[in-house]
């Protein structure tokens, strides 16, 4: 019989998100998730079905809701990077979520994700200047530098 849930799903999903973004998807074990969330293994499986189910919940939560703090923004980007790198190549459902998230980021998606990837590698101060688009010869066109959206 399914017992009523006695935990806050948002807190659990956030704790799991930290595991996935710090360690990567494949390297995160269920043992890691059990320790990070404080749930029993059985409750974790009962609530999310699988490690993948928990990852999908994390991805959906972080790419749909409006974010308050900039670190949530970074967390969401990191989750997108992990999803793109590890799952999207062979998982249609994850690929769809990544596509939607990139759509929401708009035309700067590539820059935003690339910049975050290099930031994670502690290379943010060594970034080459973004190449300016070819200027149409009708006077100066203001080009906005691609920065992370607040």
């Amino acid at each position: 019989m399914a017992r009523p849930r006695s935990f806050d799903e948002a807190v659990v999903v956030d704790a799991a998100t930290h595991c996935f973004t710090d360690l990567g998807y494949a390297a995160t074990s269920v043992d890691d998730l059990v320790i990070a969330t404080g749930l029993h293994r059985g409750s974790l499986y009962g609530a999310f079905g699988s490690k993948r189910g928990l990852f999908l919940a994390a991805l959906a939560r972080h790419t749909s809701s409006p974010r308050e703090a900039p670190e949530d923004d970074e967390r969401a980007l990191d989750l997108l990077l992990v999803a793109s790198l590890e799952l999207a190549p062979h998982d249609d459902e994850v690929r769809d979520l990544v596509r939607d998230a990139c759509g929401a980021l708009g035309p700067t998606a590539v820059t935003v994700l690339g910049r975050r990837l290099l930031e994670r590698a502690h290379l943010e101060d060594d970034l080459p200047e973004a190449e300016a688009p070819p200027v149409v010869p009708t006077g100066p066109t203001p080009t906005t530098p691609a920065t992370r959206r607040a």
Partner: protein
């Protein structure tokens, strides 16, 4: 040792060798609609298993058979635990009451991908 196979909207967990004997059960077949996911989880083999009925339990060596713990009915077939896969189900008549299967398979990664791919196409 066990095999996990997905076909025709069904998931089959087949126990091989002596495991079928210890468990008094050769297979568990459930509809995919009652399957919630699969995970490669070596740590699951080390969890307390509860009461066996029927089965073989040599703590630290092997757990094979039907176990009851905290209201959950689990099918176990684990020895070393290194290649354990956990298949979570929606327990009901069509799963013979089982909430999950915790079994060792030759290729856990392939088994997990098979199950989850079938579920995402559902």
């Amino acid at each position: 040792m066990a095999r996990i196979r997905v076909s025709d909207g069904q998931l089959e967990v087949r126990l091989v060798g002596l495991d079928a004997l210890w468990a008094l059960r050769r297979r568990l077949v459930v509809p995919l609609s009652a399957v919630r996911g699969a995970t490669a989880d070596p740590g699951a083999a080390a969890e307390p298993k509860g009461v066996r009925a029927p089965g073989l339990h040599l703590p630290g060596v092997a757990a094979v058979g039907t176990f009851h713990r905290g209201g959950d009915k689990t099918l176990y077939a684990v020895h070393s635990g290194r290649r354990t896969v956990v298949v979570q189900m929606e327990p009901g008549a069509d799963t013979s009451g089982f909430a999950r299967a915790v079994v060792e398979v030759p290729d856990p990664r392939a088994a997990v991908d098979d199950v989850n791919r079938a579920l995402s196409r559902r």
